[in-house]
């Protein structure tokens, strides 16, 4: 367990699956599938989450992130496939895992009409804490998650960030080995989101495995490993740095005075995967098979008008480029 632990943002592939004997996986999913009537929400997803790491599910809304997490929690039975959580099969033996896993739902699920402290104490008693042990644990959490001024406040009078801190405190109250967080920061401002992630790294350092779903790129980039989901399918999987390094596209940034007019013709080019405007630049993903992407673009496009300061620069790929590339290639 200890050797699989990592510093945040490190990209060494220590737990990338090269040494399966040395690695203990907190989550192992094997061709997990879930259908709702005609809709296949999760389609044969297999993945392994190393212990004591932060693993991200990145994908657009409706890609199956929540369904995947609910199946891993044992709340939904898979239509096909199987999963082991901390070595225990779910959903068959999900009850055995209740004291070892924590779940923070996408929708705030604590009681709006109970104060922070009452919510914490309620959850504590559900996990069989009582008396001094309960009071001590609640005090600890209040301090860790900076809730001391909010002890007597009800969640309905708290900000998004405060509510999420309280929810995380409740989800970690019983010191779970594995924590499921379903879009924990979707209603949190960037400042509080950063603080929230500090807490996650603290938990991870203490040995907790964290599975977090998100649709924010910056948040996905903080994960040790990442699975990109789209339309219920696993598009790619790996640590963010490797994913970016191994991108199957060149990223070219175009600047100039007639970018809006260029967008449509560029999009039609056979070897262009995507074009997105970012302020005064166009970010173009060109097939990795093209040797000189800048030259390719310059050739294919009408020559710049006199006075147009058209420029094409090759830039470092970011996670969004990875996301666009893997979701784009599957669609074709």
């Amino acid at each position: 367990m200890a050797d699989s632990r990592q510093q945040p943002h490190s990209s060494q592939p220590t737990h990338a699956g090269h040494r399966p004997d040395a690695v203990e996986y907190a989550i192992e999913a094997n061709r997990l599938t879930r259908k709702f009537g005609p809709l296949t929400a999760v389609d044969q997803v297999s993945l392994q989450v190393p212990s004591a790491s932060i693993y991200g599910f990145l994908g657009p809304n409706g890609c199956g992130k929540t369904t995947m997490i609910r199946m891993l929690c044992g709340l939904l039975s898979p239509t096909a496939g199987d999963a082991k959580i901390l070595g225990i099969a779910v959903p068959e033996h999900a009850e055995q895992l209740r004291t070892r896993t924590g779940y923070m739902t996408q929708k705030f699920s604590l009681y709006e009409d109970l104060s922070s402290e009452e919510n914490l104490k309620f959850i504590g008693r559900i996990y069989s804490l009582s008396g001094k042990a309960l009071i001590r644990r609640v005090d600890e959490l209040v301090e860790t998650y900076e809730l001391s001024t909010l002890r007597n406040r009800r969640p309905d009078a708290m900000s998004g960030g405060q509510r999420q801190r309280l929810a995380l405190a409740c989800a970690t109250l019983h010191k779970p080995d594995l924590l499921f967080l379903d879009e924990p920061t979707s209603s949190v401002d960037p400042e509080n989101r950063r603080k929230f992630w500090e807490k996650l790294f603290d938990l991870c350092d203490q040995g907790t495995t964290i599975l977090v779903s998100t649709h924010f790129m910056d948040e996905a980039e903080r994960c040790h490993r990442l699975a990109i989901l789209e339309a219920g399918q696993l598009r790619t999987e790996g640590d963010p740095q490797t994913l970016m390094n191994n991108l199957q596209s060149h990223v070219v940034e175009l600047t100039g005075s007639r970018l809006r007019d260029l967008k449509t013709p560029i999009q039609r080019l056979p070897h262009v995967k995507s074009v997105a405007q970012q302020g005064a630049r166009l970010r173009v993903l060109v097939d990795i098979g093209i040797e000189h992407p800048q030259a390719y673009l310059a050739q294919q496009l009408p020559p710049p008008a006199p006075g147009d300061d058209f420029q094409a620069t090759l830039v470092r790929p970011n996670l969004e480029d990875v996301f666009v590339t893997v979701t784009h290639s599957e669609r074709q």
Partner: protein
């Protein structure tokens, strides 16, 4: 003006779409008139017939048999039991087995000849509608029929002597107020539990709760216990006010009243739990409660005497906890009965509760699918 119609019709069309997609609400809109029609049509019968009564014939004479047959022929009563002494018959009335008993004295034949009052009706007066029907028998012209049609009896002598027990002044409040406890408890207990669980599901609390080690049975019992106290409080309010304002006598023991109430509260709470496992929203929980409440008001004997209802309505009534409690609470409060004489109804409520809790816990899965 066209803008007015345009916007308003947009709302109308949208509202129709909501209705069409909420199948439960639409179903209720159809079912409620249907069920109400049947319930009211069947249950509302103020003309009470075939009241179950007992007979204490101490004369053992032919005249006794003829009189009994003549009384039966009125269809007002149905002689279901024979008792040896008036005391036994009174006990049966207290238990609620019969509503009244006809006592024919040993000197019946002599009384017949002398145009005296023939016998005495011992009547459970608590239900004014039932007692009103029985009181019709007071002056039924029996003497002529049996002895000699030509001899007219002195008009001043009634055929039977009527002894109204428990509610001699025939005030309907005496019967209504104990019954009201059954209606109010049905209304609140079923609704409270049904919505309490559904609310957690609607607000998303349930998704968190079911990922904790809590067991369904712990959650179920934990959810209903607080409402037991609410129910006991409601009953206390109704009975205290009934006693102070409406002079409703409390003839039975307070302990037995609360024990019976406890049984009924538990049965109603489990009914609420079952509903909560069947519906998705609080609105649906309310509609489903209406479905229980209406027959509980109309068929339980609260508004109309159980005896006056047709067989099918009685069968439905027997399936409702409120019917059983209605009998118990009236027997205890008005007739001073004790729980051990109400064994069937008590056991029925206990069995209902146990079966209900089990069913609800089985239906409640710690899953979302």
């Amino acid at each position: 003006m066209p803008a007015f119609w345009g916007r308003m019709s947009a709302v109308i069309v949208k509202e129709f779409k909501h209705l069409g997609r909420d199948r439960m609400t639409f179903g209720m809109a159809v079912m409620i008139p249907l069920v109400q029609l049947l319930l009211f049509g069947y249950a509302i019968n103020t003309e009470v017939r075939y009241v179950p009564v007992g007979l204490v014939d101490q004369s053992g004479s032919a005249a006794g048999r003829i009189i009994t047959q003549a009384v039966s022929a009125t269809q007002v009563v149905d002689f279901q039991q024979r008792y040896h002494t008036p005391k036994e018959a009174e006990q049966a009335i207290v238990k609620g087995e019969i509503r009244a008993a006809l006592v024919l004295p040993p000197d019946l034949t002599q009384r017949l000849v002398q145009h005296r009052t023939l016998g005495q009706w011992l009547i459970d007066g608590s239900d004014t509608m039932v007692s009103a029907s029985l009181l019709q028998l007071r002056n039924m012209p029996l003497n002529q029929a049996i002895i000699d049609p030509n001899i007219a009896p002195p008009a001043a002598t009634p055929t039977f002597d009527m002894a109204l027990f428990f509610n001699p002044t025939r005030r309907s409040a005496v019967n209504i107020i104990p019954g009201l406890t059954a209606v109010i408890l049905t209304m609140t207990m079923v609704l409270f539990t049904a919505t309490a669980i559904v609310r957690e599901r609607e607000r998303g609390n349930m998704e968190l709760i079911i990922t904790t080690p809590i067991r369904p049975i712990e959650l179920m019992i934990g959810k209903i216990v607080p409402y037991i106290f609410i129910g006991l409080m409601q009953v206390s309010i109704i009975l205290l006010l009934g006693y102070w304002i409406f002079d409703v006598p409390v003839n039975g023991s307070v302990t037995h009243i609360y024990l019976a109430t406890l049984l009924f509260i538990c049965a109603s709470l489990t009914l609420g739990l079952i509903i909560s496992t069947l519906v998705q929203t609080q609105l649906q929980a309310m509609q489903a409660t209406m479905f229980i409440l209406l027959p509980s008001i109309l068929l339980s004997g609260f508004m109309f005497p159980y005896e006056a209802m047709p067989h099918i309505a009685q069968t439905i009534a027997e399936a409702l906890p409120a019917t059983h409690f209605m009998r118990m609470i009236r027997a205890i409060i008005l007739r001073g009965a004790e729980l051990d004489t109400l064994v069937f109804d008590s056991l029925w409520l206990i069995a209902f509760t146990l079966a209900g809790i089990t069913l609800a816990a089985l239906r409640f899965h710690k899953r979302l699918d």
